[in-house]
């Protein structure tokens, strides 16, 4: 079972539908208990960092997500779900994140329109399981006003150019995340989610 966390931040329909289309057993969960039985966890999300982090905590997700990550099972963060993995964000003050990845979330530079909204090209900087078969330069859909700056630049697998190179795909081992929305990114996004699905259910999974 793939768990999608519902902590009241943004719409889950598209990611849920996209994963179901890939033949996955998907469950949207609004409490952390079912996480223990999940093969993989997806944390989507839109909106402001502070209230989202507070809700994750209030609902008891924070510790369970950390435990899930420690267990080595696959994790995918999307958009705000990526940003929440980092130590902290400067969005509307200073807010503490999950600290799964080192680094901070900062506002996009004032030289560009904010939000960064629309289709931008991926610049792939190193291979990653998520981007297998995705061409360098492929377009994906972004909507965000803040971006993550990992403490260790080696965490970044792909960037997009928007007032500088911003982290578009980050991760390593069992934890991966995208600043863009694969579930809104047409055929390229579907490929990325299929990569996640294949990896999430393991190499021995039936070829549905």
């Amino acid at each position: 079972m793939i768990a999608i966390t519902d902590y009241g931040a943004g719409n889950l329909h598209s990611i849920r539908r996209a994963l179901i289309r890939l033949g996955l057993d998907v469950r949207v969960i609004d409490s952390p208990r079912p996480l223990d039985g999940a093969e993989a966890v997806v944390v989507p999300g839109d909106g402001a960092f502070g209230p989202a982090a507070a809700r994750l905590r209030a609902l008891g997700f924070e510790e369970r997500i950390r435990a899930h990550v420690r267990s080595g099972r696959p994790f995918l963060g999307i958009c705000l779900g990526m940003q929440l993995l980092f130590d902290a964000s400067e969005e509307d003050g200073n807010h503490v994140g999950l600290g799964v990845l080192g680094g901070r979330v900062v506002r996009l530079p004032a030289s560009v329109k904010i939000p960064h909204m629309g289709w931008n090209r991926l610049r792939i900087v190193r291979p990653s399981p998520l981007l297998e078969g995705v061409e360098d330069g492929a377009y994906v859909y972004f909507v965000h006003s803040y971006h993550a700056v990992p403490a260790d630049p080696a965490l970044v697998a792909a960037t997009a150019e928007y007032g500088g190179a911003i982290a578009a795909v980050v991760g390593g081992d069992n934890v991966w995340a995208t600043q863009f929305h694969p579930e809104k990114s047409g055929a390229v996004g579907a490929r990325i989610l299929a990569n996640f699905a294949r990896w999430a259910v393991g190499a021995g999974a039936p070829g549905r």
Partner: protein, 267 residues
């Protein structure tokens, strides 16, 4: 580099797609969900649904359209028309809309923009502005589907809406809407110079060249197109290849081919 977006707009009434000329003379152009999926396949970067006959009875029908569209689409879509309260917005977002557009209700109570942005995030709050030329370089905001003059200056309102938390502005020229003789470039230029949020050009697209002008001459981030597409006078691919030929970055249509040419020629 960020691509400029091509956005088909479906005007919807009672669950069916219609397109009026300057907001009258409605013509039926089909099922919104079917059309949305078709446009997705043809390379639309996102879609806009405007419920032009929005009423309490119609709201349920629209929610159903939104739900079915969200199930089927692989690109984002915006829903607007008759949304008046934070709860109206919440219902559409929960039904699966990626963004919601507010117009009359925001003019009547600008704080709605701030409340909605605080609740759902700026990224999903679009303020739609219907503007009509009042003087050579002045445009007035109209509400209620273009029936009520407000006396508000469109550029000043655009600035205020962005300051209150709108994540995007959908700027429609009422003078040009349905006439298919090009966008109101002066209006768009005035707005894109005044704000630092994305602006969608709307009203007047009648040829691919008009979309080029909106981007090159008025710096629009996205172009809204309705009847040009609905009546198959041009395809999304034609519009995009025209834009690409003028050096505008666009997302190639269709499944992105391996080693795709950078100019968007993919038909």
């Amino acid at each position: 580099m960020l691509a400029r977006r091509v956005v088909p707009c479906l005007d919807v009434a009672s669950g069916r797609v219609v397109k009026g000329t300057s907001f009258v003379n409605l013509r039926d152009a089909g099922d919104p969900v079917e059309l949305a999926v078709l446009y997705d396949r043809e390379g639309a970067d996102e879609l806009v649904f405007l419920d032009i006959a929005a009423s309490h009875e119609g709201r349920g029908i629209m929610e159903d359209v939104v739900r079915r569209t969200a199930e089927a689409l692989t690109v984002p879509f915006t829903v607007g028309g008759g949304l008046r309260t934070v709860d109206d917005l919440r219902r559409m977002l929960r039904a699966g809309a990626d963004k919601v557009a507010i117009n009359t209700a925001a003019v009547q109570r600008p704080e709605l923009i701030r409340e909605a942005a605080a609740r759902f995030g700026s990224q999903c709050i679009v303020v739609a502005i219907d503007a009509k030329r009042a003087a050579p370089a002045r445009w007035e905001v109209w509400t209620h589907g273009g029936r009520t003059a407000t006396g508000l200056d469109a550029v000043a309102w655009a600035k205020l809406a962005a300051a209150l938390g709108a994540g995007e502005l959908l700027v429609t020229s009422m003078d040009r809407d349905g006439r298919e003789d090009g966008y109101d470039l002066a209006l768009l230029r005035a707005v894109t110079r005044a704000v630092r949020v994305p602006v969608i050009a709307s009203g007047g697209a009648g040829a691919p060249q008009h979309c080029v002008e909106a981007v090159r001459e008025a710096d629009a981030d996205a172009v809204l197109v309705a009847s040009l597409f609905h009546f198959r006078k041009a395809s999304i691919a034609e519009v995009k290849s025209c834009m690409a030929a003028h050096g505008i970055p666009v997302r190639p249509v269709g499944p992105q081919p391996r080693a795709a040419p950078a100019d968007g020629r993919s038909r």
